[in-house]
């Protein structure tokens, strides 16, 4: 199964990259952008057929390595 882990900086953590992107979009004329947050997407190809188990595994991986709980939150989607 494929699991997609999306890792984002937590609300309240300064995201200078998101800020820079927002500014750049503004200079390109996209003036209806309220906010931009930049994160990362990690795609896992899991040797697992049970969606529930796959999700639990991916969440465990996210907690132990893929995300840093001090600054980041994550979301797992399995398909």
């Amino acid at each position: 199964m494929k699991a997609t882990v999306t890792v984002m900086l937590k609300n309240g953590v300064l995201d200078p990259q998101g800020k820079a992107i927002a500014h750049a979009l503004g200079t390109l004329g996209f003036d209806n952008v309220n906010d931009v947050r930049a994160g990362k997407v990690i795609e896992l190809d899991l040797n697992e057929t049970d969606a529930g188990k796959a999700k639990a595994q991916a969440e465990d991986m996210a907690r132990k390595l893929l995300a840093n709980g001090v600054i980041e939150s994550f979301r797992v989607v399995v398909e």
């Binding site: 953590v13 300064l14 200078p16 990259q17 390595l65 893929l66 001090v70």
Partner: protein
């Protein structure tokens, strides 16, 4: 003081650190490969700077989960001394041995330049050859040195006197409360972003970093 330097793949300031330690202690430090699991006999474990595992995923994330880290946790639990500089600091926060995290520099650019640091307390094994409030020169060279912790943690660090150094002039990387280095609660673990090890030889322009190593050598 028997010192060991932990080398993860991608670490690149281990030689600088070895030179500084040998200069102060008179002995070559032991180089510890990240797959080793036995740190017995070491008084001081140093994690130097560099780009462990390429800084991929997050700076220090993968090194913090390397085989040697269990032994480093044991060493910490025994009350052993640990110094983490730059990537070493990032690894210590990722491993949970120090609080907070190091984010990308506020300006999104790598910063390589001298940085003046103010000593926040001079009664620790690392800082006792400085004076409290003294400003000394160090070199910074990092892309992710922006110290972050939530307000409660920052208040606790301030309240318990666990801030080791602050940037004395410009806080270019955007660190919370201009924090450049922090101690563990027992004051035996120090993590800092700038490099005192590159300021120990007058030929490189300054020896302001040497008192830190001299103090450790005398411990």
């Amino acid at each position: 003081m028997k010192a060991g330097i932990v080398v993860f793949p991608g670490i690149n300031r281990e030689r600088d650190m070895a030179i500084a330690l040998e200069l102060s202690t008179g002995v070559k430090p032991r180089m510890v490969w990240h797959k080793e699991t036995d740190l017995s006999g070491l008084d001081l474990v140093v994690i130097p700077g560099g780009f462990s595992f390429g800084d991929y995923l997050r700076c220090g994330a993968m090194a913090a989960r390397s085989p040697v880290m269990a032994a480093i946790h044991d060493h910490a639990a025994r009350g052993g001394y640990i110094l983490g500089v730059c990537n070493g600091f990032q690894i210590l926060t990722e491993a949970g041995l120090l609080p907070g995290a190091l984010l990308r520099n506020a300006g999104l650019r790598f910063l390589s330049m001298d940085a003046n640091l103010r000593v926040e307390r001079a009664d620790t094994v690392f800082t006792r050859q400085y004076q409290k409030g003294q400003v000394f020169r160090s070199v910074m060279a990092h892309g992710d040195g922006n110290f972050f912790a939530d307000t409660a943690t920052l208040d606790r660090l301030d309240g318990e006197g666990l801030v080791a150094f602050r940037y004395a002039d410009d806080n270019l990387n955007g660190s919370a409360r201009a924090i450049a280095g922090v101690f563990s609660p027992n004051l035996r673990i120090l993590g800092m972003m700038p490099h005192p090890e590159d300021m120990v030889d007058p030929l490189m322009g300054c020896t302001d970093g040497k008192p830190l190593f001299d103090a450790l050598a005398a411990a």
